[in-house]
């Protein structure tokens, strides 16, 4: 990775790097180490879950029936919107339209926050119905996967904060850092897409 | 004018703390004739229930609790002397600081187990025995930080290559010797009788004498080093 890292100088100009045909790593190459490593860790969680599930399929299905599929879909859509707006934030910042970029970053935060609220409400509903972390194996996995994802999302707000901080002042505006933060945010999004399929849809 | 940095005050707390430790140990009935690990649960419970022993256990351990961390100022002074050595990095002084944070905690933990055992002597004898075991094993076997601080100090002294080193080489040799002498105590779990047992020659007498001697010797050489440093500083300013 060091060769990748040293190939791209850290402070890149905001524009002029997207010449046609020139391939570039979005954001710090270093961030991709986090993305790939953390994704691998999640793959092990998912795999363990799927395997445990096949060992007692009826228990998992019965408990799964208590989840609200529509809420899951809503969550997914909300995160997709936030991903979309952070992608627009990167593009507009690259073009130099920092006002639009900033608005898109705030929009991302808003939808991220919406996801958090909806997740907490969903947890509260489940707990009120008597399904907690220790109820059964399905709910253990449900709370574990959603909570660890929730934590990643909270960390995502730190990254979004960095992006906003960069975009705000003309003195900073490191396009690379904005891209780095966006890369992290998309990672949360695609991990959720998998969690959604595994917890809500699969049988 | 000599700056009032308080180093000498910290140094002179050492004999005071040493004296308090010694009197706490003499007061604790389990040390004068160190308790044997071969005692049965009933004997251990009877030891704690004995109205002669109980107040002495409690009061000695309360005193020990107050002063268990009393060695830390001395270690801080050693850190400052290591900083004066001709090293390229602060690694050795950092390491002694880490030992200072870890070592006294061991004494504190042992102290807590003793006090817990003495808190309800009417407890089931098996439980009293367990707390007593925990206290003695923690106290005797956990020599890691003491060994580390001696070895690190020795290394620091050997690598202090300047005209007038802060400590003489024999201080390093002495520290290595202390480290070696502390090693057998780590094995207290292996024997209920004999020199390795926690009341034995190696694990109790040799070990604790070595620790006491280390405090005395290091106190003296530390005092000399600080005095010399202050004389130097004074000569430089006048």
């Amino acid at each position: 990775m060091t060769t990748l890292a040293s190939a791209e100088p850290y402070e890149r100009a905001a524009t002029g790097r997207k010449a046609d045909g020139v391939r570039f790593v979005p954001g710090q190459p270093d961030m991709w180490v986090l993305v790939l490593f953390e994704s691998l860790v999640f793959t092990t969680y998912f795999t363990v879950y799927v395997f445990r599930r096949t060992q007692s399929p009826d228990l998992f299905l019965q408990s799964q029936a208590h989840l609200n599929l529509r809420v899951g879909v809503f969550n997914t859509l909300v995160l997709l919107v936030s991903s979309w707006s952070v992608a627009r934030c990167v593009q507009t910042a690259r073009e130099g339209s920092f006002r639009t970029a900033l608005n898109n970053a705030y929009l991302t935060m808003l939808f991220g926050f919406l996801f958090l609220v909806s997740k907490v409400l969903e947890w509260v509903t489940e707990i009120e119905q008597g399904f907690s972390f220790t109820t059964d194996e399905f709910f253990s996995f449900y709370y574990f996967l959603t909570a660890i994802h929730f934590l990643h999302l909270l960390i995502g707000f730190v990254f979004l904060g960095v992006a906003v901080y960069q975009i705000k002042s003309p003195a900073r505006r490191s396009q690379e850092l904005v891209e780095t933060c966006a890369t992290y945010w998309h990672t949360i999004d695609f991990l959720w897409v998998l969690i959604f399929a595994l917890l809500y849809v699969m049988r | 004018m000599r700056r009032a940095d308080g180093e000498l005050i910290l140094l002179w707390t050492l004999p005071v703390v040493g004296l308090i430790w010694l009197s706490a140990f003499l007061l604790f009935p389990g040390f004068v004739h160190p308790m044997s690990p071969a005692m049965s649960a009933e004997e251990v419970a009877a030891f704690y229930r004995d109205p002669e022993n109980l107040p002495r256990i409690r009061y000695s351990m309360i005193v020990f609790n107050w002063f268990a961390v009393g060695l830390i100022p001395m270690l801080a002074l050693i850190v400052l002397q290591i900083r004066r050595m001709a090293h390229r990095t602060p690694i050795f002084s950092y390491a002694i600081m880490a030992c200072a944070a870890g070592g006294p905690t061991i004494f504190l933990m042992a102290n807590l187990f003793w006090l817990t055992a003495a808190f309800r002597p009417e407890r089931d004898p098996q439980q009293t025995l367990m707390f007593n075991d925990l206290a003695w094993v923690t106290f005797s076997s956990q020599v890691g930080f003491l060994i580390a601080q001696s070895v690190i100090l020795a290394l620091a002294i050997y690598l202090d290559r300047q005209e007038r080193p802060v400590f003489r080489p024999w201080v390093a040799h002495f520290n290595l010797l202390v480290a070696v002498v502390l090693i057998p105590a780590a094995f207290v779990g292996l024997a209920l009788e004999g020199p390795i047992a926690w009341d034995g020659l190696l694990s109790f007498w040799v070990r604790n004498t070595a620790i006491g001697l280390w405090i005395v010797v290091m106190g003296v050489v530390l005092g000399q080093a600080i005095t010399r440093q202050r004389a130097n500083d004074e000569a430089m300013t006048t």
């Binding site: 890292a5 270093d30 220790t134 | 090293h87 602060p90 950092y94 002694i96 061991i106 956990q142």
Partner: protein, 275 residues
């Protein structure tokens, strides 16, 4: 830290390992760093040997064992526990010099010394729950095989739960290191190592269910709470040992950015393992 100039050091002698070590002891400017690095390498190997082979307390046994099974467990590894943890308590203090070396990496960065100090103190604490309490509990359990089974079961839980109790230490410690690496302008470590610290910190959150579950993947011996986390920790440790070695080779004892390693040159003195 007045520099002890060694003058013109003679060539690294070829031949026996002992002579090389003596040479480094006498002339190597970076000997303090190398002492720290070798302590780290030897210690982690020894740690693996002691915990996995001699004491056989890793991979951890089941938390769901009944009291008689726990008595049997202590009985089966009687000498392993007693000798293993005796050695652990002798070498346990080596963590001081290891953490001092790692704290030094933060001292070399362009960040406040507060990072190095925080790291040092946090990990000085970690040794207690991480190794020493576990050692005491296992020693006490093994030394009297006829102890009341209920108390043996308490000692067993105390040992393994205290081992889990390092969560916060590693969580905050890794985050401190992460922030230092990300802010650093001296390029002591690559930025991706900073992010890897975040991965390590997150595993300390994942281990938390081990306090609740007695069986399954979230228990202290489970597929997620133990195996995945151990895999991440081993990766993390291997990575920082490698990067630390590189950092020592690059060290110039200045305060500015560390120079890059000249890979086409013969290895510098100090790389006695490079050849």
């Amino acid at each position: 830290m007045s520099a002890a100039t060694t003058g013109a050091a003679p060539e690294v002698p070829s031949g026996s390992l002992l002579r090389k070590i003596v040479w480094h002891w006498r002339y190597d400017e970076k000997r303090e760093l190398w002492i720290g690095w070798w302590t780290l390498v030897v210690f982690y190997n020894l740690y693996g040997l002691l915990f996995f082979v001699i004491a056989r307390t890793q991979p951890p046994p089941k938390p769901s064992l009944t009291a008689p099974e726990i008595v049997q467990w202590f009985h089966d590894r009687h000498y392993g526990l007693l000798y293993g943890y005796a050695i652990v308590s002798i070498v346990g203090g080596a963590t001081a010099i290891m953490n001092a070396t790692l704290a030094y990496t933060m001292r070399r960065m362009s960040v406040s010394r507060a990072f190095a100090y925080s790291y040092l103190v946090i990990y000085a604490l970690a040794t207690l729950p991480g190794m020493l309490i576990m050692g005491v509990a296992c020693t006490v359990g093994a030394m009297r095989p006829d102890r009341n089974p209920a108390l043996m079961s308490w000692l067993y839980d105390f040992a393994f739960l205290s081992f889990e109790g390092t969560m916060g230490v590693f969580l905050i410690g890794s985050l401190v290191w992460m922030v230092a690496v990300l802010l650093d302008r001296n390029r002591v470590f690559p930025k991706w190592f900073g992010y890897l610290n975040l991965c390590n910190a997150l595993t300390e959150v994942v281990v938390a269910p081990a306090w609740i579950f007695k069986r399954g993947v979230f228990a202290w011996d489970g597929g997620i709470a133990w195996w995945t986390n151990m895999a991440v920790f081993v990766t993390y440790t291997t990575v920082f040992l490698t990067l630390l070695r590189k950092m020592i080779l690059r060290e110039d004892f200045g305060t500015g950015p560390l120079p890059e390693l000249q890979s086409d040159h013969p290895p510098e003195p100090g790389t006695r393992e490079a050849a």
